[in-house]
Amino acid sequence: MTLAVTTANGPGGSGTETGHGAGRPRVAAADHGAMWVYIVGDLFIFGGWFVFYLVYRAGEHTVFAESQAHLSQTMGLINTIILLVSSWLVALCVNAARARSYDEAARYAWLTILCGAVFAATKLYEWTSNIAEGRSFTSNDFFMFYYFLTAIHLFHVLCGFIVLGVLVRTLRTPALRSQGVIENCAAYWHMVDLLWVVIFALVYLLR
C-alpha cells in the first residue's frame, strides 16, 4: 500500500507544480503547510524531552557523568557524520529535482536511504553491545534516557524510510512529480538529522 503524500490542494489551495515549471524554488505555501506543522510540532515535543533529560541530569550529575563515559563517543560521532552526509544528499536531491534532472535526484534519494540504513545498523549494534555489557534500559536514569531518546529517534528514522520511499516514488513516476512533495519529504529527513545532532550533543558530549 504506497503512501502517496498528496499536498493539501483543496478546492481553495493553489495547484501544485505537477511536472511543469518546477524550476521555481518558492512553492506555494499551501503545499508546504502540512509537513511543516508536523516538523515544528515534533521539534517542540522533542524539546520537552530534552529539557526533562537535563533536569534529571542536574539531579544526578555524577551518575550521568559515569554512565556517559561508558558510551563510545566515537560511535556517536560516526552516526552524526552519517546523518549529516544523508542530509547533504537529500538536499542535493531536492536541488537536482529543482533543476528537473529527476534521475540524478532519484539516485541521491536512494543514497540517502542507504545512509539511513547504515545509521540504523550502527545504532542497533551500539544498543546490543551496551546491553551485552549489562547496561540496559532499567540500569539507571542515564541509560533510561539514552535508550528512550535514541529509540524514539530510531522510530523517526524508520518513518523516514517510508517518507523517503514516497520521495523516490514521486521522483520515479512523472505523473506524480510535485516539488511540494519532494521538499516536504526532504524537510522531514532534515528534521531527523537535526534531532540527532542535538541528541549527540546532549547525551554523548555534555560534561
Binding site: R26, G33, A58
Partner: protein, 93 residues
C-alpha cells in the same frame, strides 16, 4: 552548479564542527568525562550552530511559510536558552 558546491561547503563545515565538538567533548579521548562547564557550553553552542545551519541551508526554512520560520527560530532560542539555564544553574551552583 553553484548550489551544489554551496551545499558541499555547508556539509564540510558541519562535519568539521562536529569533529571539533567531539574532540572538545571527549577531551581528546584521554581522561574520563570530568564535569567541565566551559566545554559543555561550547558543545551546546556548536550544536545550536549546527541546527541553525541545517535549518537555514538544508531545510530551506527561508522558502517555508513565514510562521514556520518564526516557530523554528523561537524553538531555537527558547530551547537552547532552557538548556543553558538548566545546565549552568546546576554545575555553576
Amino acid at each position: 552548479m553553484a548550489a551544489r558546491t554551496h551545499l558541499t561547503v555547508i556539509l564540510v563545515l558541519l562535519v568539521s564542527v562536529t569533529v571539533l565538538s567531539w574532540y572538545l567533548g571527549t577531551g581528546g579521548g584521554a581522561h574520563p568525562m570530568a564535569p567541565n562547564l566551559t566545554i559543555s557550553a561550547a558543545v551546546l553552542f556548536i550544536a545550536l550552530l549546527k541546527v541553525r545551519l541545517i535549518m537555514s541551508e538544508f531545510m530551506d526554512v527561508g522558502t517555508a511559510p513565514a510562521w514556520v520560520r518564526r516557530a523554528s527560530n523561537a524553538w531555537l532560542v527558547l530551547f537552547f536558552a532552557a538548556l543553558f539555564m538548566v545546565h549552568i544553574a546546576v554545575s555553576g551552583g
